[in-house]
C-alpha cells in the first residue's frame, strides 16, 4: 500500500474531517502550468491530488472535463508529459497523487513500462475509468509490484457481488460515484447516498471517497459527515477554463480549493 495515501487519510481523520481530493486535468490550460496549479491546490488544503490524463474519447466525463481534455491535448499533453509533470511536482511536494486515466494511453505506453515510470515519477495511485474490476487483475498486479495502488470505482448500480470483487483489489480507498452518469457539476445529490457509502465501506472493508457531481461546499460538508474523502473536480476545471492563462489563476484555484477544504470538517 502506498504510504502517502494511507497517511493522508489518517491525518484527515485525526483532524476530524474527510480527506479533500481535488481533481484537475493535467496539461490544462497547458503542461507548463500544471505544477503551479498542483501547488496551489496543496496550499489550498488538498489531502490527495487527482490528476486527469487527457484522452481523445473521455466517455466517463461530462462536457466540462471533455473540454479540459481537448485543451490539454491541443497544448501537446500526452501520458509521457503528464509523468514529467508529476516528476517535477515531486521535487518539492509530498502530496499523494492519483492518476485518473482511460486505459488506452497506458495500453499504448505498455502497462509494465508505465508502472515502473509512474512509480519513479512519484505516482501513488492509478484509477482507470474504463477498466471494470473483472478485467483489472493485470493492471493491479503490474502496479502492485512497483508499490502503486489501484483505485477502483464503485457505482450506485454496482451489484453486491461486484462490490465484493472490488474488495480483493482495493488499496487504501475506493472511489464511489455519487450519482449514475458522467462527471460534472450538479446541484442535487442522490437520495440515500449515506446508506450506500456505509454499505460500500462494509463490503469493501476499506475507505470510501465520494465524487462525480460534487460542486458546492455545502455538498462537501454533507458528504464529509459519512465519507472518508470527497472528490471535487468540475468546479475547479470550470474555473481553470474561465481564467485560462491569466496570471491570477493559481491564486484563484487556491482560494476555491480552500473553500472546499474548510467544508470537509465533521460536526
Amino acid at each position: 500500500m502506498s504510504g502517502r495515501i494511507e497517511r493522508a487519510f489518517a491525518r484527515a481523520r485525526k483532524a476530524r474531517r474527510a480527506a479533500f481530493i481535488p481533481y484537475i486535468t493535467a496539461g490544462d490550460p497547458d503542461p507548463g502550468r500544471t505544477v503551479a496549479l498542483a501547488r496551489a491546490l496543496e496550499r489550498g488544503g488538498a489531502d490527495i491530488l487527482e490528476l486527469g490524463v487527457p484522452f481523445t474519447d473521455p466517455i466517463a466525463d461530462g462536457a466540462t472535463n471533455q473540454r479540459a481534455a481537448e485543451r490539454a491535448l491541443a497544448a501537446g499533453t500526452t501520458l509521457t508529459t503528464v509523468l514529467e509533470t508529476v516528476r517535477s511536482f515531486r521535487l518539492t511536494s509530498d502530496l499523494p497523487l492519483v492518476l485518473f486515466t482511460y486505459f488506452n494511453p497506458v495500453h499504448a505506453y505498455g502497462l509494465a513500462r508505465f508502472s515502473v515510470d509512474a512509480a519513479s515519477a512519484g505516482v501513488d495511485g492509478v484509477l482507470f475509468t474504463d477498466v471494470p474490476v473483472d478485467e483489472a487483475g493485470p493492471a493491479h498486479e503490474a502496479l502492485r509490484r512497483v508499490g502503486i495502488e489501484l483505485v477502483l470505482l464503485v457505482a450506485p448500480t454496482s451489484t453486491r457481488a461486484r462490490v465484493k470483487a472490488v474488495r480483493r483489489l482495493a488499496g487504501s480507498f475506493v472511489y464511489f460515484v455519487a450519482r449514475s452518469g458522467v462527471t460534472g457539476a450538479r446541484t442535487t445529490l442522490e437520495e440515500g447516498l449515506e446508506e450506500q457509502v456505509r454499505l460500500v465501506r462494509k463490503l469493501t472493508k476499506t475507505r470510501v471517497a465520494v465524487g462525480f457531481g460534487v460542486s458546492t461546499p455545502d455538498q462537501v460538508t454533507r458528504i464529509a459527515q459519512f465519507a472518508d474523502g470527497v472528490v471535487v473536480g468540475s468546479v475547479l476545471v470550470e474555473r481553470i477554463a474561465e481564467l485560462g492563462d491569466a496570471p491570477e489563476l493559481p491564486g484563484a484555484i487556491e482560494a476555491l480549493a480552500r473553500s472546499f477544504a474548510l467544508a470537509t470538517r465533521r460536526k
Partner: protein
C-alpha cells in the same frame, strides 16, 4: 457494468425464449420484407468479364439497409426489459433511421446522437428520423462523426440507464453487444447460404462485405466461416490517403487498443490517443473495428483490404448504371473490390456481395462532390 450485466442476462433469456424469437421472425418477415433475395448481377458480371456476381439485397429491407435487423431485435429486447426509451448513435444515419422506425413501431421514445459532420452529409436521414418521431441530437466533439456519437450515447446511457436501452448499431462496444448484434445480423448469411446454393448450385468462391464497425460483414460472414473453401474479404475505407487521419483502414494502419469497452484494432498515435478518420462514407468513418473482425484477421480467416474514396464513388456509378441499383457509399466500397478481382476469376466461380444498403441517402453528397447543383 451493472447495465451490461442486466443486458447480457436479458438477452440470454430472450434468445432462449420461443415467443421472442417467433415475434422477431414474424416482424422480419411481415414488416421488414425478409427474406431479401439475392440477385444475379448479369450486366455487371458481363462488364467485368470473370466471376459471376451475386448481390445479397439488404437494400430491399424496410428502411433501406441491413440495420433494421438489429434495431428491431434490440427494440423488442428493450420493451421486454421494460425500458420505455431507446437511444442510438448513427454515422450514415441508416442505423438511426432503423432505430427510429423500430421505436415508432413498438411505441418507444427515441433519441439519436449524430456527429454534426455526419448530419451535414446525411441531411436526408436526419429529417427522416425526425419524421419518425425521434429526437436527433448533434454532437460537436472530435471529428463530429460516428465515434463521437458513440461517446455521447454511452454518456446518456450511464446517466439514464434505469429507463433507457442503448441500441448500439454495430458489432462494437462492450460485451454483449458484439455477439448480440452479430446474432441479430446473422440472418443475412443464413439466408444467403441457402439462396446461393440454390441459384448458383454451389458455394461461392468469395464473399465480400464492407466493414465499418462490421455488422453487415459479420452478419453475412458468420454462416460461411465454417466453409474453409469460401474466401471471405472485408473492405475497409481507404479514404483519401495512407497517412493517419486520412482513412479508416484499421487493419492497415491500426494497433491493438481499447476503445468503447472493446479491445480491437484501433487507429491511434504512439501516445494511445485515438486518431481522426476520414471516409467519403459516414458509415465506415470509425477508428476501431468489431473485436470479432480482429479475431478473424489474426486467425487469417478473413482478409481485409482497403478501397479509397474515388474507387468507391466510381463503383457507386458502376452499379447504378449497370444494374439499376444505387448502392450506399459504404456498400460501394465492397462493389469496388469486386470490380478489382472479378476479372481475374473464372467464369464458373461466384462472388457473393453483401449489398448492405441503398444509396438514396448519398445522392446529394455525391452530387456535391462532383460539383453538381441539385
Amino acid at each position: 457494468m451493472a447495465p451490461l450485466e442486466e443486458l447480457t442476462e436479458a438477452w440470454h433469456e430472450a434468445r432462449r425464449d420461443r415467443a421472442f424469437r417467433h415475434e422477431l421472425a414474424g416482424l422480419l418477415e411481415t414488416y421488414c420484407g425478409r427474406p431479401t433475395p439475392i440477385s444475379f448481377a448479369a450486366r455487371l458480371t458481363k462488364h467485368l468479364g470473370g466471376a459471376g456476381v451475386y448481390l445479397k439485397r439488404e437494400d430491399l429491407c424496410h428502411t433501406g439497409a441491413h440495420k433494421i435487423n438489429n434495431a428491431l431485435g434490440q427494440c423488442l429486447l428493450a420493451r421486454r426489459m421494460g425500458k420505455a426509451r431507446v437511444i442510438a448513435e448513427t454515422g450514415a444515419g441508416q442505423h438511426g433511421v432503423a432505430v427510429a422506425t423500430a421505436a415508432a413501431l413498438l411505441g418507444l421514445r427515441c433519441r439519436v446522437y449524430m456527429g454534426t459532420e455526419d448530419e451535414r452529409r446525411q441531411a436526408l436521414n436526419v429529417y427522416r428520423m425526425k419524421l419518425l418521431g425521434a429526437e436527433v441530437v448533434g454532437v460537436e466533439a472530435g471529428a463530429r462523426t460516428l465515434k463521437d456519437a458513440i461517446n455521447e450515447s454511452l454518456r446518456d446511457w450511464v446517466t439514464n440507464v434505469a429507463t433507457t436501452h442503448y441500441v448500439l448499431g454495430s458489432v462494437l462496444g462492450p460485451h454483449p453487444y458484439p455477439a448480440m448484434v452479430r446474432e441479430f445480423q446473422s440472418v443475412i448469411g443464413s439466408e444467403a447460404l441457402l439462396q446461393i446454393r440454390k441459384q448458383h448450385r454451389s458455394l461461392p468462391k468469395l464473399v465480400v462485405a464492407c466493414v465499418g464497425g462490421g455488422s453487415n460483414a459479420a452478419g453475412i460472414f458468420t454462416a460461411f466461416v465454417p466453409y474453409r473453401q469460401v474466401e471471405l474479404v472485408g473492405v475497409e475505407a481507404g479514404g483519401r490517403g495512407t497517412r493517419l487521419g486520412e482513412h479508416a483502414a484499421r487493419f492497415a494502419g491500426g494497433e491493438p487498443g481499447v476503445l468503447h469497452g472493446t479491445r480491437s484494432y484501433v487507429l491511434q498515435d504512439q501516445d494511445g490517443l485515438v486518431a481522426q478518420t476520414h471516409s467519403v462514407s459516414a458509415g465506415l468513418d470509425y477508428p476501431a473495428v468489431g473485436p470479432e473482425h480482429a479475431w478473424w484477421h489474426d486467425t487469417r480467416r478473413v482478409a481485409y483490404v482497403r478501397v479509397d474514396d474515388s474507387e468507391a464513388v466510381d463503383a457507386f456509378h458502376l452499379l447504378s448504371e449497370l444494374e439499376g441499383i444505387v448502392p450506399a457509399l459504404e456498400t460501394a466500397h465492397a462493389i469496388a473490390y469486386v470490380a478489382r478481382v472479378a476479372p481475374r476469376m473464372g467464369s464458373g466461380q461466384a462472388i457473393l456481395v453483401s449489398l448492405s444498403g441503398r444509396g438514396d441517402k448519398d445522392v446529394a453528397e455525391v452530387a456535391r462532390l462532383e460539383g453538381v447543383t441539385l
